[in-house]
Assembly symmetry: C2
Homo-oligomer: 154 residues x 2
Amino acid sequence: MTGNPEQFRELLKKNGLKVTTQRAAILEVLVDRPGMHLTAEEIYDFVKIRHPEIGLATVYRTIQLFSELGLVDKLNLDDGFVRYEISKESAPVHGHHHHHLICLDCGAVFAFQDDLLEALETRILEQTGFVVQDHEVKLYGRCEACRAMQSKAE
Amino acid sequence: MTGNPEQFRELLKKNGLKVTTQRAAILEVLVDRPGMHLTAEEIYDFVKIRHPEIGLATVYRTIQLFSELGLVDKLNLDDGFVRYEISKESAPVHGHHHHHLICLDCGAVFAFQDDLLEALETRILEQTGFVVQDHEVKLYGRCEACRAMQSKAE
DNA sequence: TTGGGTGCAAAGGCTTTGCATGTGA
DNA sequence: TCACATGCAAAGCCTTTGCACCCAA
């Protein structure tokens, strides 16, 4: 999670990067909101509360940096925004941790942990010779709350 | 596949839409290239060969229309372009047909057919009450050709 | 000291929209 | 005829980039 400031400092230093107020502030916003899928603008707004001087460009640059360092995961819901959340893994390893349930009614996004895809990946390797390193799975449907509301309305 | 012009005319008429030269031309470009993932600009370039008068805006509008009609599937490779391919299903049904293998080395995109996810969807329903209607699966890794080239180089 | 980092504003690049004109039914 | 469709150009919108100033190390 790299909620540990010391780990964060080390990671940056190790890559020849500086530990700035802005970077720490952006990380904090993300660490405090695990599982939320924030756009750059939303992150910007949260950071501005405590650091009004920050620029949107810095948020974009920092998020991209964090993404390269493996600190955040990207999520694209095809609504014109790229979204970010703090990575489940702390290390810069491209682990298997992308399952998102997206409700077509209310737009809510849920996470789901499952490693069933390992079997699929094995089959792909056998049949095509393609080695899977990472995956992104988006499942569209209807969440429990929306289904309950719908059946009540009927 | 709706490679059948008659089906295409019927589908448009049924929705109160007109069968225009442009729409037919764009569909033809897509039908002739199954499994290719074309950007709007690429479709535009192909259509222009035979119909130089067409405008890019028409391509965007038509593709969006086709998407709503279920004639094309969208694919987002996070490179700034939205890509389209003719739908495997002809009907406006959101079927289960999204598995893409994306090579991190050469960028090639392969399709893979598999319904292993049905088991995952059942599990999700049981554990969360979320009903999955459609899914998009992107698997990132290394294709056979790139792996072969790599091992040869070493 | 000094090279990386930041803020601001301008530029980019894909996509959408307004509007006058064109055209299928 | 006439509502829908098209072309062109302008506008939108998210994101990136240029540049002068700033500040961790």
